[in-house]
């Protein structure tokens, strides 16, 4: 076994660490505390990060990207998340869908969408699946209820498709220039056989962004409502085949989304550990430094142990994906594990800080709020149940 990083991996990690410390962290709390959920975004940080390569990190070199391996991607996400989890997620959300473009888009589509994505520092990507009555049904369609899952309707008219319906809680919804959108093209069968994935530029006629959701955590990362009112989409924007939307999604074998959440959680844990250590070394209780109290030593021990275990698991799974080893469910397990670890570690950090009279350290609270997002991400419980089929 060799746990060492190669020079390129180390290089990206250092670059990301520097950017997180010098650029992301200084704006993190202020952005989090903007009350209007549609005003939390900062295009300047996206531009700066994009110029350093963090927006296009996962795009193949042949197309002008950096083609970083999964270990590098995991390292960068964790470093960026240590500065601000939701800024990290805004960048990695672009990688998630650039993986899909590379895996399942036609040359024409790559020409029309990947090129402008690479050329424009503010070109951000998103994907629309969830609807008001289609959440976990999209992840684990029930066998006895074929009509469940997304309902957004697409009907063909000549060379165009007419889309009607509404998507909810869509990540990067209010800022993305291009969306992958799942629509129902055959309402009589389940979504696996009856849905199609469309590429939707944000200037598509009949398409608009509605409400920006006001969340407890991840406030920089905006989730929006996507509204389709007779939206007209060219047939050439179909990803994969008609009624083959779920299959098209599955062509991306990286399972990036799972590692992504786990690596991001790792960054939060690193931040929490750093805050806790700094506090414990600089504050006193009953005449002794906090770090010299057994009570706190035991908590710090647990925070470190959980964080290091998560780091090992994240990097191992990233390495497994790089080696293209058979997918035995580890990617889902690491995501589920990260959900539990990030709750616990951020809570321990809060315990160590405690209330200062009637106040709480705002960043300590932010980490707990960001961590809560994991409790439903990707339909957390559904994934825990679903992965059992893949376990050997």
């Amino acid at each position: 076994m060799d746990f060492s990083l190669n020079e390129e991996q180390r290089g990206w990690q250092m670059e990301a660490r520097k950017f997180a410390e010098e650029e992301i962290r200084p704006i993190s709390l202020a952005r989090d505390q903007i009350a209007d959920p549609s005003k939390t975004f900062d295009w300047e940080i996206i531009r700066k990060g994009s110029k350093l390569g963090f927006r296009t990190l996962a795009v193949p070199k042949a197309w002008g990207g950096h083609e970083a391996d999964f270990v590098t991607q995991a390292l960068v996400m964790a470093e960026l998340a240590k500065g601000d989890s939701s800024v990290s997620k805004t960048f990695s959300q672009c990688w998630k869908w650039s993986h899909l473009i590379a895996a399942s888009c036609t040359e024409d589509q790559k020409e029309r969408f990947l090129k402008p994505f690479l050329a424009d520092d503010t070109f951000v990507l998103g994907k629309g699946g969830s609807e008001a009555n289609a959440g976990s049904d999209n992840r684990m369609p029930p066998e006895d209820d074929p009509k469940s899952g997304w309902k957004l309707q697409a009907e063909r008219k000549g060379d165009e498709w007419i889309l009607n319906g509404t998507k909810l809680y869509i990540a990067n919804g209010s800022v993305a220039k291009l969306f992958f959108v799942d629509a129902r093209t055959n309402p009589n069968v389940g979504i696996r056989e009856g849905s199609t994935m469309f590429l939707i530029p944000n200037d598509t006629p009949g398409f608009r962004v509605g409400k920006v959701f006001n969340k407890r955590g991840w406030r920089f990362y905006q989730n929006g409502e996507l509204i389709f009112e007779n939206a007209r989409v060219p047939h050439a924007n179909i990803v994969g085949e008609v009624n083959g939307g779920v299959k098209a999604r599955a062509t991306d074998k990286s399972e990036f989304g799972d590692i992504e959440l786990a690596a991001n959680a790792l960054g939060i844990c690193d931040d929490a550990v750093g805050l806790a250590m700094n506090f414990a070394r600089t504050h006193k209780r009953a005449g002794k430094l906090v770090i010299d109290h057994q009570l706190v030593q035991l908590k710090l021990n647990e925070m470190y142990a959980l964080t290091e275990a998560l780091r090992s698991f994240v990097l191992r799974v990233a390495w497994e994906r790089d080696q293209k080893l058979p997918d035995v469910g580890n990617n889902v397990l690491v995501m589920n594990y990260s959900t539990d670890v990030v709750q616990r570690v951020t809570r321990l950090n809060m315990e160590i800080h405690g209330a200062e009279g009637c106040m709480m350290n705002a960043r300590v609270d932010k980490l707990v709020r960001d961590a809560m997002i994991w409790t439903h991400l990707a339909g957390d419980t559904v994934q825990r149940v679903k992965v059992v089929k893949r376990l050997k």
């Binding site: 709390l29 202020a30 505390q33 009350a35 959920p37 969830s130 009555n133 959440g135 976990s136 049904d137 684990m140 029930p142 066998e143 006895d144 209820d145 469940s148 909810l168 809680y169 959701f213 006001n214 969340k215 407890r216 955590g217 989730n223 209780r285 009953a286 005449g287 002794k288 109290h293 009570l295 908590k299 709750q343 809060m350 315990e351 405690g354 209330a355 200062e356 009279g357 009637c358 106040m359 709480m360 350290n361 705002a362 960043r363 609270d365 707990v368 809560m372 997002i373 409790t375 439903h376 339909g379 957390d380 419980t381 149940v385």
Partner: protein, 416 residues
């Protein structure tokens, strides 16, 4: 014998307050326009209504004009209020408890005559205590003498017939709305710690007293956020004069620091904690019966059922613990006749309740999927509120070591 039958009066209290919360409090507290902003101004109209129902003077004796509720009844009422709005519960809990302690237990007949009529009459007459908790540092000094704490109290000196107070208090619950504040002051500068402190009754309009603005949700620097329920503020005393007979108890004594008053406060806070968690739990049950995913109402999925069952267990056991602590405090002979444990039941109730109910609230919120984190929905607020109760000043994990000291039979040497 610990009796699980509530009295007819307790049941009536519970039903009346539950009805008030359902009809008056929830429609206001659950509005998205109320939930979304960081700043949530105190719902003062509802506080006035609650006062008219007798909840502000709940624990004040009947002879004095209150409802004379015991500790258990107060817990029952506060749980119901907190299921509607945690801030209303905390404010009323504080005023009701201080009303009993100040007017029924500590004031002289002369003081009572001066302050009681207005307290009973005025729906907006709230009470505050500004002072240190004598037990605050015990856990950090486990099995050792208490460490000396920096002295932060205002000083008071006698001049002519008056006390003249100077200095400041960083924070006191209820201060922004209190019309009478019991203030701990240092009257003997030669002594340190709890020795040499006295308590003065300071009316809100005393010359030289300035009460600060209520602590904002986010401090100006953005580096710290409000971490308490109800309302609170700091105060400054500048040659603040109060008459000599405003001394509460004897000079050099702090009758409100620690002891029975703190125990009742902790138990009340635990009851409020139950109310918040119960609101989340009841919302989750309603939603799980409505929400349709996976081919059935989600309440029919075992994964959801386990979360609800787990929350039900935690709520039931927490309520037992809190009610027992309240009941034993109401019946001190239960300890002396060895019916009940002599351990600090209020700390046990507070620590246990805060921990398990924060987890239960987070789990029940999970039944809502993404909606759990949306600020126009109450789930994220319930989670936040239980988190505040979990990491309150009186409830850091060091507080639990007070239980261990009691278990060990440790006797702390008295400070010099």
């Amino acid at each position: 014998m610990y009796n699980l039958n509530l009295t007819a009066e307790q049941l009536e209290f519970r039903d009346t307050v539950r009805d008030f919360v359902d009809r008056e409090v929830k429609p206001v507290a659950l509005l998205p326009a109320r939930l979304e902003p960081f700043e949530k101004p105190l719902l003062t109209d509802l506080l006035d209504q609650a006062s008219q129902m007798g909840l502000r003077t709940l624990a004040l004796s009947e002879e004095a004009g209150g409802a004379g509720a015991d500790g258990l009844t107060s817990c029952i009422v506060l749980e119901e209020l907190a299921a509607g709005d945690v801030d209303i519960a905390v404010v009323l809990g504080q005023t009701a408890m201080l009303g009993r302690v100040l007017f029924d237990q500590l004031m002289t007949p002369g003081q009572r005559k001066r302050f009681l009529p207005e307290f009973v009459e005025d729906d907006q007459y709230h009470l505050a205590f500004a002072g240190r908790d004598a037990d605050a540092n015990i856990g950090w000094c486990y099995h050792r003498p208490l460490a000396e704490e920096a002295d932060t109290e205002p000083t008071a000196v006698k001049k002519g017939g008056d006390w003249v107070i100077n200095g400041s208090v960083a924070f006191a619950s209820n201060a922004p709305i209190a019309k009478l504040i019991a203030v701990q002051v240092r009257t003997d500068p030669k002594k340190t710690g709890m020795n040499g402190l006295s308590t003065l009754l300071v009316p809100r309009d005393a010359p030289g007293l300035t009460v600060g603005q209520a602590v904002p949700a986010i401090e100006g620097s953005g580096q710290r956020i409000r971490w308490h329920h109800g309302t609170g503020a700091g105060m400054v005393f500048k040659d603040c004069n109060v008459p000599a007979d405003h001394l509460l108890g004897k000079e050099g004594q702090s009758p409100l620091a620690g002891g029975a008053h703190a125990a009742r406060g902790a138990t009340q806070l635990a009851a409020i904690n139950i109310g918040v968690a119960r609101a989340a739990y009841e919302a989750a049950i309603d939603y799980a019966k409505l929400r349709w995913q996976g081919g059935r109402h989600i309440i029919e999925h075992p994964a959801i059922g386990m979360k609800l069952a787990d929350a039900a267990i935690k709520l039931e056991v927490a309520r037992n613990t809190v009610w027992k602590a309240a009941w034993v405090a109401d019946h001190p002979d239960a300890v002396s006749d060895r019916s009940a444990s002599g351990l600090p039941l209020h700390i046990i109730a507070r620590a246990f309740t805060a921990e398990v109910l924060h987890r239960a609230t987070l789990e029940t919120a999970e039944c809502f999927g993404a909606m759990a984190v949306m600020r126009d929905m109450p789930l994220q607020k319930y989670v936040h509120d239980t988190l505040v109760l979990l990491h309150y000043a009186d409830n850091d994990s060091a507080a639990m070591l007070q239980i261990a000291e009691a278990v060990a039979g440790y006797q702390r040497p008295l400070a010099a």
